[in-house]
């Protein structure tokens, strides 16, 4: 039985790990469904009134709104009919499309934002964006970190010096400052940009660990034995050593997914993240401060709940993966 299957067996015995795996899979499935357009396709539709409250709070808030409406007197027209009234009504109808006659809902499932968009749909769409950013950026960072770390650790000498220099330069700048600087230089908003920013700045930790692993493994007897049977450098690096350090890569990969999801939130909150035509947990949170002053808590609640659940599940899942892959740590 291979070591991978043994690790899988250990993982299956870990209840917390299994539950978090199910949650992680659910999130990924949700993100996939959203990407395919099966759910939350119409997240941008202004379905409700501005700041429509959640349905379960509906009554009292609607009454309050109705009272507010009653105090407003219709404008005095001094008996003169508006000559443009009919045309305006036509234009209004055109603008609203066919559903122009349908009035906006007073309440939504979990409330609406300033433009009356459903926050549940926004949170689902935001899950897609945040997960895509987290996974893709972590994959990019893990790829770069592994490649650089393998080369530096295996070849040593000037190759090692070069990558260590690069590592020192990247880590000498405070992380968020570096991220913001790259974001400011790229000056282009969008999901792809965020992935690039995070991936290109986030490889350093993985690099350091993988380099150390390669330093340790390259002098092991099984690598010498591979040299003795005539295996090439590339073969020794990637066919012999890499499978033996891949658990480190895997654990780092999932740790970085969590880290990058949080980083994306921070970037979007600061306005360097995804563009206005996209929604992410971060951009939802960015809208929250002004809403909270008005007592509209549902958007921040939706984004926070989704994010907390996903990040916690992913972290616990990572812990379990590490335990399963490296039983000596327990």
């Amino acid at each position: 039985m291979s070591l991978w299957r043994l690790a899988w067996r250990r993982f299956l015995r870990d209840r917390v790990g299994l539950v978090s795996l199910v949650i992680v899979i659910a999130f990924v499935a949700l993100a996939c469904a959203s990407a395919a357009g099966w759910v939350a396709r119409d997240w941008g539709e202004e379905a409700g009134v501005s700041y429509a409250p959640p349905r379960f709070l509906g009554l009292q808030v609607e009454e309050a709104a109705a009272q507010g409406a009653a105090t407003l007197r219709p404008q005095e027209t001094y008996g003169i009919a508006d000559p443009l009234a009919e045309e305006l009504a036509e234009i209004q109808k055109d603008l609203l499309g066919l559903s122009g006659t349908a009035s906006r809902a007073g309440t939504l499932v979990f409330g609406g934002d300033k433009w009356g968009r459903d926050v549940v749909k926004k949170a689902i769409k935001g899950t897609e964006t945040s997960l895509v950013v987290g996974l893709a950026a972590a994959a990019l960072a893990a790829f770069l970190g592994t490649l650089f770390g393998a080369a530096a650790g295996y070849y040593g000498r000037w190759v090692d010096d070069f990558f260590n220099w690069l590592y020192s330069v990247f880590t000498s700048i405070p992380y968020l400052l570096l991220v913001l600087a790259v974001a400011a230089v790229l000056n282009q908003k969008g999901t792809a940009t965020v992935i690039l920013i995070l991936g290109l700045t986030g490889w350093t930790g993985i690099f350091r660990l993988i380099r150390a692993e390669y330093l340790k493994h390259k002098v092991r007897e099984y690598v010498l034995a591979a040299d003795a049977i005539g295996a090439s450098d590339a073969r020794r690096m990637f066919a012999h050593i890499l499978p033996n350090v891949s658990h480190v890569v895997l654990v780092q990969l999932s740790l970085h997914v969590v880290l990058f999801i949080k980083s994306e939130v921070i970037l979007s909150f600061l306005g360097f993240g995804v563009g206005v035509d996209t929604v992410s947990w971060g951009s939802m949170l960015a809208e929250a401060p002004s809403e909270l002053i008005l007592g509209m808590w549902w958007q921040i609640a939706a984004a926070t709940l989704a994010m907390a659940l996903a990040v916690t599940a992913f972290s616990l899942f990572t812990d379990s993966v590490r335990d399963a892959l490296d039983p000596r740590l327990q």
Binding site: M1, S2, L3, R10, R13, R220, E221, Y222, L224, A225, A226, D227, A228, I229, G230, A231, R235, H240, P243, N244
Partner: protein, 517 residues
């Protein structure tokens, strides 16, 4: 009158799979003022037995039975009671002196700590007592060594310090768990003599744990032979060694390589030289690991290479295999300079088997993949199916079933792994096989089987061996010619029979005199 009696001791380890029965209901006595040897191969439960006496086993261990020391059952003893006993009444020394000493404290401080904790001495008194102890364990320059740190001492000196710590509080029982296994044979002899002398002088009892039967009659009066958690035989050393009653004991005694056995050396004659070294040398910075080694290996013959740790024998092996770049001299393969031979051709001709079968196989590859990789690299066999067939044939040749193809290294025992490593080198049908301590990590019974296998394979494939080992008896049982290496230099080279019967160099004589028989 016995000092310690163990009755019906059972130790089980809980694991996620099934419980491991490490010790199965054993009973024995340690009499006052005498030495008892506990002998067994790896996994026999001998160390677990020792650790259970002092309550040092991890929490996953389920210990039952009785360990009676001065009328008290130590298994039922509380933690503070045990702590008061450890070091004072019963003390212990371990196999690896380097990892048993704390590297950030001086030797004097560490010995003093024991004295302060158990005898309540002041700092000044503890220092004076430590000095006395270092003198007692015959450490040279004890006054300067008192302020030395562990890394400034040699392995033998570290073990002397550990012994000084162990006897600091005049214990009644000293448990020595493989105290000489990590040491060179010349140092081993001195440490054994020291333990024996201290035992007599302090009228202690010693429980001496070892895998090496040849040490037993040097040090012990009684012997207990363990296997798979059970006691197979116990009694006086002369009785057990002279007339063993148990089959397993008999097998162990027969399997151990002996210096007085005749050498299988074949008479010289006109031979084709497969490999010749001319002044091969290797420097690591200023340190000269190998200082110009010259020798020849003839076709179908075995050249033995013996030396203690740090003598440069492994480095020389790696130089011959061209896994290290030589800093000087040259190797000639069939008279051609090895540098001129294309690496792939050279590697097919010269293969190597390493010491540690746990480290030399890639844990992520199945045995089949391990054997098929060199064939794939060198284009042996037309297609995967044929290669798999060849791999199965080789496994059968080294004594493993073809079902082993799909198993991974961790599913094999140490001996089986070494068989796979040998099979891997055979895939290329090498002319010279370097065996670098290839059987040193294995139990004697397994060792004997593998040495037989290596002899058979040599005849079958007409291979030459460069057989590297620290064990003079093992080398004698294999080699036609033997080189002795010390501090990077080959100090003596002669035919096996001649070297063992009439050693010329003083170092060779010291080595031979140190081997326990």
């Amino acid at each position: 009158m016995s000092l310690l009696s163990v009755r019906n001791l059972r130790v089980d380890f809980e694991t996620r799979e099934e419980p491991v029965h490490a010790v199965r209901a054993i009973s024995f006595e340690i009499p006052e003022h005498s030495t008892v040897a506990l002998v067994g191969e790896s996994g026999s439960g001998k160390s677990v037995t020792a650790l259970s006496i002092l309550g040092l086993l991890p929490a996953t261990a389920d210990v039952r039975g009785e360990v009676l020391y001065e009328g008290r059952n130590l298994i039922k003893a509380t933690r503070p009671e045990l702590r008061a006993l450890r070091g004072a009444g019963i003390s212990m020394i371990f196999q690896e002196p380097m990892s048993s000493l704390n590297p950030v404290f001086s030797v004097g401080f560490q010995i003093g700590e024991v004295l302060r904790a158990h005898r309540g001495l002041s700092r000044r008194e503890a220092r004076a007592a430590s000095l006395q102890l270092l003198e007692e364990v015959n450490l040279s320059n004890p006054r300067t060594k008192l302020d030395a740190y562990p890394h400034q001492l040699s392995g033998g000196e570290q073990q002397r310090v550990m012994i000084a710590m162990a006897i600091a509080c005049e214990p009644k029982l000293l448990i020595a768990d493989e105290p000489t296994s990590a040491l060179d044979v010349t140092v081993q002899k001195q440490i054994l003599e020291l333990i024996a002398a201290l035992q007599r002088r302090h009228r202690m009892s010693v429980l001496f744990i070892t895998h090496d039967l040849s040490l037993v009659h040097i040090i012990a009066a009684h012997v207990i032979v363990m296997r798979e958690g059970e006691i197979r035989e116990q009694g006086d050393v002369s009785q057990v060694f002279g007339a063993p009653r148990d089959d397993y004991t008999r097998m162990l005694l027969a399997a151990r390589p002996r210096l007085d056995a005749p050498s299988p050396a074949r008479a010289g004659g006109e031979e084709t030289v497969v490999f010749e070294a001319r002044g091969l040398a290797k420097d690591f910075g200023k340190f000269k690991a190998v200082k110009g080694a010259s020798f020849r290996v003839a076709r179908g013959r075995t050249l033995g290479l013996v030396g203690e740790s740090g003598s440069g024998k492994t480095t020389l092996g790696l130089l011959v295999a061209r896994l290290h770049q030589a800093s000087g001299g040259s190797g000639l393969l069939h008279g051609l300079d090895a540098v001129a031979v294309p690496p792939k051709v050279f590697k097919r001709a010269v293969q190597i088997v390493f010491q540690n079968p746990y480290a030399s196989l890639n844990p992520r590859y199945s045995a089949g993949e391990i054997l098929m990789e060199p064939m794939r690299i060198h284009g042996i066999g037309a297609g995967e199916a044929e290669r798999r067939g060849l791999a199965a044939e080789l496994l059968a040749r080294v004594g493993l079933p073809s079902s082993a193809l799909f198993k991974y290294p961790h599913e094999f025992s140490g001996g089986q792994r070494q068989r796979i490593a040998i099979a891997r080198s055979l895939t290329l049908k090498p002319q010279l096989l370097i065996c670098d301590e290839a059987v040193s990590a294995l139990d004697v019974s397994i060792q004997a089987q593998l040495l037989n296998l290596l002899r058979d394979l040599q005849d079958e494939y007409a291979m030459s061996y460069l057989f590297i080992s620290h064990d003079l008896a093992v080398v004698k049982s294999m080699a036609d010619e033997v080189m002795v290496m010390k501090d990077g230099e080959i100090v003596e080279m002669a035919g096996a029979e001649q070297l063992y019967s009439d050693p010329k160099h003083p170092y060779t004589r010291t080595l031979l005199a140190s081997v326990p028989q």
